[in-house]
Symmetry: C2
Subunit: 199 residues, 2 copies
DNA sequence: GTTAATAGTGATTCACTATTCACATTATAG
DNA sequence: CTATAATGTGAATAGTGAATCACTATTAAC
């Protein structure tokens, strides 16, 4: 049966959603135009009315992910001013988000999306370094206001912050979700605090 | 021109080597039978004399990676008995190894190798959890001999240990190698020690 | 040197995927 | 109501990569 005619901006959202869904359940390499179209409920050729090809779909997926990550941070920054509290809440939100949005680690990790596309690789790099930059700023603030030890290597600490969640995502992925990311984040946080907090 | 006839066990090594090479430079998704064969200097159909297909090649690559990882740990365990020293040396070796062997993170991260192959996914899971298990044992020893704080969550700490190197690998990958993994490991270590060491 | 086993080759098949296009249908502005 | 722009459809095309096969060349054992 024929799909109902639907405004392009709606279809665009549906397409990104479907893509994320496929990535989360079957992996990035399983992402096909036909698969996306089927999930949306249209025929593959119809997809080209809304995106000019697979490349554009992937770009849209990246835009979505960046937004999700950044809105995460924005919320927390509004919630509290204390640097350690900010870091903790970002961590916990991040863990929950990756848990619900399993597509994100797939996209960030997979080389599929990179190779032969320097601009796209740069986009992913931007997303990660942008995120890291924010963490770094929070740590700097903490050093200024005396809640974080001044002898902490800011750069290394920010990457280690990522290190609380990133291996957890890999483990959760590899273990068919038997690894509990949120719980790990909860357990890892006090250890991390001990590293950087001024007691 | 015709390739020189070469014993199968030699070709098998060359094939794994070529595969690792391609994965490191172009990513896992770019790994094709034709590509491997070309690099080895034979024609794609000839590859089937040595492996029964792509699956077998990938399995061989996994075996290689597991060996590399484990020999790494074995060396260190022989070098020193002190738990903190062991961890530090494993970390530094690991960083250097990933730096030289860029294919490893690609394989561990990429979903390509997983989806639709539960057994292979399980193998990767085994490699990672095996590695983690060893780290966990070292931490436990440290708790016993008093070099590591007894209130440290062993599980969380071992995953965080991985977290010193894993995000670095992603960053190095995404940034075209502009991120210095070894340097990061050096900077991260004192922070990590502060978390777990009994002062 | 002959022979059997081993390794290499090119052609080909098969399945899968992205993309294009001519045509059909639907929504909506006027 | 109707014209037209937007969206949907199926068929066709082209590219890719894995795998098979009949055949050829080389090696090594006897």
């Amino acid at each position: 049966m024929r799909a109902k005619k639907t405004a392009s901006h709606i279809r665009q959202e549906q397409i990104v959603e479907a893509a994320l869904d496929i990535i989360a359940t079957e992996g990035l390499h399983a992402l096909s135009i036909a698969g996306i179209a089927k999930r949306v409920g249209i025929v593959s050729s119809a997809l080209y009315r809304h995106y000019n090809g697979k490349e554009e779909v992937l770009d849209a997926v990246l835009v979505f992910i960046r937004k999700r990550l950044m809105s995460n941070v924005d919320h927390v920054v509004k919630e509290t001013r204390d640097p350690l509290q900010r870091l903790k809440r970002i961590l916990m939100r991040h863990a929950r988000m990756l848990d619900e949005n399993r597509a994100i680690p797939h996209v960030v990790f997979s080389d599929w999306i990179y190779t032969g596309h320097p601009e796209r690789k740069a986009k992913v790099a931007d997303i990660i370094t942008g995120y890291l930059g924010i963490i770094r700023e929070i740590i700097k603030e903490g050093k200024n206001d005396g809640t974080i030890r001044p002898d902490t290597d800011t750069e290394a600490a920010s990457v280690m912050f990522l290190g609380m969640i990133l291996p957890a995502a890999v483990l959760s992925n590899v273990s068919e979700g038997r690894f509990d990311m949120v719980k790990h984040a909860e357990n890892a946080w006090p250890i991390f605090v001990r590293c950087i907090a001024k007691i």
